[in-house]
Amino acid sequence: MNKNLSKTLINNAVPIMFIVLSILAIPLSGLSGTYLIQEMLTRLARYLFLVLSLLIPIIAGMGLNFGIVLGAMAGQIGLIFVTDWAIVGLSGMFLAMIISMPLAVLLGWVAGIALNHAKGREMVTSYILGFFINGVYQLVVLYGMGKIIPISSNKMLLPRGYGIRNAIDLEPMRGSLDNLIPLQIGDIKVPVATFLLVAALCIFIIWFRKTKLGQDMRAVGQDMEVAANAGIPVEKTRVISIIISTVLACIGQIIFLQNIGTMNTYNSHEQIGMFSIAALLVGGASVVKATIPNAFVGIILFHIMFVVSPRAGKTLVGDAQIGEYFRVFISYGIIALALVLHAWRVYKDKERARLIFREASTSEAKGKEG
């Protein structure tokens, strides 16, 4: 009983720590329940698609895909084009998705190939790959657009005549999905259409896990050698999982930016991987196991800290900046702890398995001698 309880506590250490911190910080912040619920609904709508895009590579045993920034960059390129062509509202959003999807597939394929060459080190490889593709993205957007790739709107170009400006106003597209089906409960606005889209993605993930490809991914995730012996094309399956993740991230970034209403051309995508992964880990996921509820719980807990910590800091020490500092310090510290705990658990499991194997071998040898 005690062993089970301690195991549950260890397995859920990160969400428990965040819940405790939230319980302490919410009253200190003095923020109303309505405000917090509204903020959480907005942030769930903003981030859910991105966080859920991480699930499929985890099924395939590829860990947390830091490479979702590749999809985010593809999404942003789509948004640059539709803004230049003055396609607004929902039409602009969906056109941006269609334009950027082939690019996301291509980038996902490149990432998948690269990760197949770095088996066992997928996370760090995808993280570095993000930096590499970011360089290519900056080259294209800063020097190619307006020079090689035609951009007609002078409002978007830098004064020198080529390269895209730092910020792109997405006001004509802002909230086009969130406000598509208006629903207001008291003072709380619910972005129904965005949640319906997220619900569709959740259903897709649940359905996908049951398909032949989904089962193959699970088999590959558990043991690549066994999966290969069973006739599953391991490398192809892994590439497909990364492609799906990148395409979903591309759509997620477009949903994220239509909610924000401004695109920071050179920075909007950079933090997406880190924030999404942090939220998923805070929700109780690990490198090898993540579920849809982990995404929901993670976003709520992670973003409650975002909202309440500056105010709590101000109440406690009279400076909002201190609260923000502690949020960054504690949040990312806990995430680092989650990764360390996971590595330690894997190491201990291996050690235990070795011990059991050794004991079994010894007793077998003794049995033979006897």
Partner: protein, 124 residues
Amino acid sequence: MKRNMIRILIVIGFVVVSFLLFTFGKQYEILIDNKTVSLDGTEYPAEYTINYSFDGGEYEELKIKKRKKANVVGPNHFITVEYTDETGETVSMEKPFSLGLSEGTIIVNLPVLIESKDGWLVRE
């Protein structure tokens, strides 16, 4: 074979949807002028303060010698104008127009429009 057919159909579907989204989601900037304008040797003087609206939206007032900007989305629209003439009678008229996939600035000359002459919609 069947698989390739499905793939081709999906691509065609995406192209068609993209075209529709492009056509019906495109925003046009329209400049509305209430200034004296010369067209084919005929002068159309700006004489009245005119109220206008696009696609049944809210009316905007445009005084003589002034210009305003409006944004419309999609290819087909109508403009409604209202003004009070020198006899004190309120005149109202509605004109449909199509923008196609035109690029550049679109100008609506209200003095020409209220005379019901061609050339009230100019693309520059």
